[in-house]
Amino acid sequence: MTQNNSLSQEDKFYHTDIFETTNINTVSRGLGDYLQSIIESSKFDISKAEYEDEFEYLDNIEGDISTIVNYMFAQRTFNLNVRALCLQKWRGIVTDINEDGFKAKLEDLTNGGSYEIGSFKMDFVPIADIEMFKLGAIFYWSIGFRTINYTKEKFSEVRFQRLPQISDEDFDIAMDKGNEKYDFLISANECI
C-alpha cells in the first residue's frame, strides 16, 4: 500500500495529515540531538524535502521541546481505531414534557419525508445533556454500528444540539434590523 506523497497546496488543504509519510530517509535538522534520536527511533519517516517544508519554522520557535516531539508523535498515536456507521438518524425537537417522560417531533434525516411523533422516557436523555433539555430543545438521535479497536457493537446515541447563545451585540443588531423593517413597513407602504 502506498500513500500520497504530494505536499502541494491543494493536498495540504484537504489531507487530514499534515505530515505524509514515505519510506526511509531519517532527517535531523537544527533541533538538537534529542530530537534527532527521537526521529530515528520513531519510524516516523519523512523525506528531507518534506521535513524542510514542514519543520523549518520549528527552528525559529521557542518552546518546550517535549511539545514539539509530542506533535511529531501525534500522528502515530492519534489514529484511534474508531468508526461508526448509522442505520438511521433523526433530528428531534422536544414538544411536550410530562412526569414520565416527553414527546418529540422526529425528522427523518436518513430517508427524508414527513415527521413522526415519538414518546420517550426520561432516561432517554443523556445525563451529560440534562442542562440542554427544555421544551423546544433540539437533539440528534442515531442508531447503527460502532467499531472500537476491532470490537463491533450496536449503538443508540442521543446528543443535544450545542450552539452558542446569541450575543448581546448580535441581539442589538437583530433588534435594530427588526425596528428598521417595521418603521419602513409602516411608513413607506400603501395599505388598503
Binding site: M1, T2, Q3, N4, K12, F13, Y14, H15, T16, D17, I18, Y57, L58, I61, G63, T67, N70, Y71, F73, A74, T77, F78, N79, L80, V82, R83, A84, L85, C86, K89, R91, L109, A128, D129, Y140, S142, G144, R146, I148, F155, E157, R159, Q161, R162, L163, P164
Partner: protein, 221 residues
C-alpha cells in the same frame, strides 16, 4: 449497491484562514459550552501551542489547527451533525477570523468482498489493459476528477477521487473521496459569509457525494 460495502466514513472539515492555534483547547470549548462538560475529562491533548494545536475530544472529534488551517475530523457518522455544529459554534464566537476558503471532505472506504470484484472495479474505472505492455501487473493507485466550476452559485470547485486507502484497512478496500471546496471572496465579513455558505451547503454536500458515487457505480456495473 456499493453502499453495502461501506467500511468507514470519515468527515473532515477544513477551513483556510488566519488562526491563532493557542486559542483552541478542550477547556476553551467547554467554557464556551460547545462540548459537554464530561468531554473535558475525556480529551487527549497532544499540543496546544501558538503554532499548532492538536487534540481529540472523546472518540468523536479531532481538532488540528495551525496558523493557516483549521480542521475538524470524525469517523463517527452519528456525529457528523455535531461536527457541523461545533464548526458553526466556534466561528460564531470567533466571528472576526479572516477566512479564505473551506472544504467539506468526504472519505468513504469500501471493502469489496473478493479480489475478482475489486479488480473488475479497478479495470472499469481505468482500463489497465493499456498498461499491460508497459508494466507488469499494473494496478490503479489513484484516479482523480476535477470540476473547476461549482454547480451552485458559490466560488470554488469539486474534486472526486478513487484511490488506495491512506490508512490501515482490510484487503480490497477502496477509498472514495470528494473535496467540496468553497472560496470566500468577502474580505470584510468573511466569517459571516463562511457560516452562511457552510450551513446552507452542508447537507447538500452529502447528497452530492452519494449521488456521484451512485452514478459512478451504475456506470461501471
Amino acid at each position: 449497491m456499493i453502499q453495502e460495502y461501506l467500511y468507514k466514513y470519515k468527515l473532515n472539515l477544513v477551513v483556510l484562514g488566519d488562526f491563532n492555534p493557542a486559542i483552541f483547547s478542550p477547556a476553551w470549548l467547554a467554557l464556551k459550552k460547545l462540548i459537554r462538560p464530561e468531554n473535558m475529562e475525556d480529551t487527549q491533548v497532544h499540543v496546544i501551542h501558538g503554532s499548532f494545536s492538536l487534540f481529540r475530544i472523546g472518540d468523536w472529534a479531532e481538532i488540528k489547527v495551525n496558523k493557516e488551517t483549521f480542521q475538524l475530523t470524525t469517523a463517527r457518522e452519528d456525529n457528523f451533525d455535531l461536527l457541523k455544529d461545533l464548526m458553526v459554534g466556534i466561528f460564531t464566537i470567533l466571528k472576526e477570523t479572516p477566512i479564505r476558503a473551506f472544504g467539506i471532505n468526504h472519505n468513504k472506504y469500501f471493502t469489496v468482498p473478493d479480489e475478482n470484484r475489486y479488480n473488475k472495479i479497478e479495470n472499469k474505472l481505468a482500463p489497465l489493459g493499456n498498461w499491460n505492455e508497459i508494466f507488469s501487473d499494473p494496478k490503479l493507485m489513484r484516479l482523480e476528477i476535477l470540476q473547476l466550476k461549482r454547480p451552485d452559485s458559490n466560488m470554488g470547485r469539486i474534486s472526486f477521487s478513487v484511490s488506495l486507502p491512506d490508512e490501515e484497512m482490510p484487503k480490497n478496500t477502496l477509498k472514495v473521496f470528494m473535496n467540496d471546496r468553497f472560496d470566500i471572496d468577502d474580505k470584510i465579513k468573511s466569517t459571516e459569509k463562511f457560516l452562511k455558505i457552510f450551513e446552507k451547503s452542508f447537507k447538500s454536500s452529502f447528497e452530492q457525494f452519494d449521488g456521484v458515487i451512485d452514478s459512478v457505480w451504475r456506470k461501471i456495473n
